[in-house]
Subunit: 223 residues, 2 copies
DNA sequence: AACGGGCTGGCAGCATGCTGCCGGTCGTCG
DNA sequence: CGACGACCGGCAGCATGCTGCCAGCCCGTT
């Protein structure tokens, strides 16, 4: 019934992170998870250490599953996108999530986790966590975010379309399950125009059927 | 450049959690976040401490935002559902997430976080985390899961339908944007039967149009 | 005024989706 | 065996969705 005390290592600055945590990353055997929402916190080399870089490819265990999750703003950065595509080319999976990622998170082999963020003074700060409970919890959260995210290639090829007010209105009526006739009346436009709008919408969503348009709309958070 | 060491408190068993962590929960001022995927780990009273229980209503600060996130299996439990609805009635927000939650997680006022899980020997184990970086990261992940989750009331009124193998196959063809004719050929069934399946699916999804069926399917994680 | 571009809405015709009805098959049970 | 129920598939007819064509309107330019 007596609680145990355990150390958490807090690290300030990227240089120190590399010194202290690189061995952790290099030792990845089965799984290397990484999520990042903040370009400035991004641990660069540490991140690369887990993936197969141009140099480290030979050392990368065959069965290692690499999964990286970034926010749209992060992948919008050119240098970053290059890194992401390198990871993907090396067999890692890269996805883009539109919601709720920590500034920086790394989980290695379900044993060690690193959470990073901007500390006081704008200095990158990282915490190394080893408690199984914590690591498992972070893995579960990662899994949830991962499943809701889109593949990087898809994100690049099909950026989320920008919809004007009317398109959104049409989307809403579609989502309400109205017939075209009711919907057109509801939006006070002719049936022909309404259907024109729907057709335009489906082009934007790259959907071949209304069902698919529905899933896409929801998928892109436009519902 | 020298790393700081900080304590993480690891707690075994629910009794001890209550002793050590109850003050943290009771001190919630602005925000009380809770996510749980595991009924057995659930900290019961500790959870309740943050919400306005029948007893604690008076002590609850007015501006406190309470958000609870559970998995479907957790809310399926009657006793648990009762708790959840009590929280909701007291002004807390309760949502149900179908994917990726930690066994137990609590974040109070963006200052303290508790991550719980089943430790060795099946014993509930909790870690209390205070590093700002860690707490912020957990909040961000919580936010992501929260946004993708459904409101408890909606979840109760419209439980996620169970789909057999064939229904899933139909769903897939719909998601691919095929015409009914191609889809039926693809699934090696007659047009009539395919449409029958689609109609059944739409009843299950409570959708009035195929578009709506698409959004629902995606919303429920069935796409 | 004359012109062109962008947007709208009617119409027509076709494609697709929806469903009631019926007959057929199969397996089960009495 | 016969009756029953569950499932399937064809057919027909209607409802809905899709789109090309054209005419009209507004607006800004020439």
């Amino acid at each position: 019934m007596v609680s145990a005390e355990e150390q958490v290592t807090t690290i300030h600055g990227k240089r120190e992170l590399l010194l202290r945590a690189a061995p952790l990353f290099a030792g990845a055997r089965e799984e290397f998870l990484c999520a990042a929402a903040d370009r400035d916190t991004w641990s660069g080399a540490a991140d690369a250490a887990g993936a197969a870089g141009a140099a480290g490819a030979a050392e990368r265990p065959a069965g290692l599953r690499v999964r990286k999750l970034y926010t749209p703003s992060v992948v919008a950065d050119d240098a970053f996108a290059a890194h992401a595509f390198r990871v993907a080319a090396a067999g890692g999976q890269v996805r883009v999530s539109s919601s709720g990622l920590p500034a920086e998170m790394i989980v290695v082999d379900a044993r060690v986790a690193v959470l990073g963020g901007t500390g006081p003074g704008g200095r990158p700060t990282y915490s190394v966590l080893r408690a199984p409970t914590v690591v498992e919890g972070l893995r579960a959260l990662f899994r949830g975010a991962w499943e809701a995210a889109r593949d990087l290639a898809e994100h690049r090829d099909r950026p989320v379309p920008v919809l004007d007010t009317r398109a959104r209105a049409v989307l809403r009526t579609l989502g309400r399950g109205l017939t075209d006739e009711s919907a057109a009346r509801d939006l006070d436009m002719s049936l022909r125009s309404y259907r024109r709008r729907v057709a335009e919408l489906m082009v934007l969503l790259e959907a071949d059927s209304r069902f698919q348009a529905g899933t896409r709309a929801r998928e892109l958070g436009l519902a």
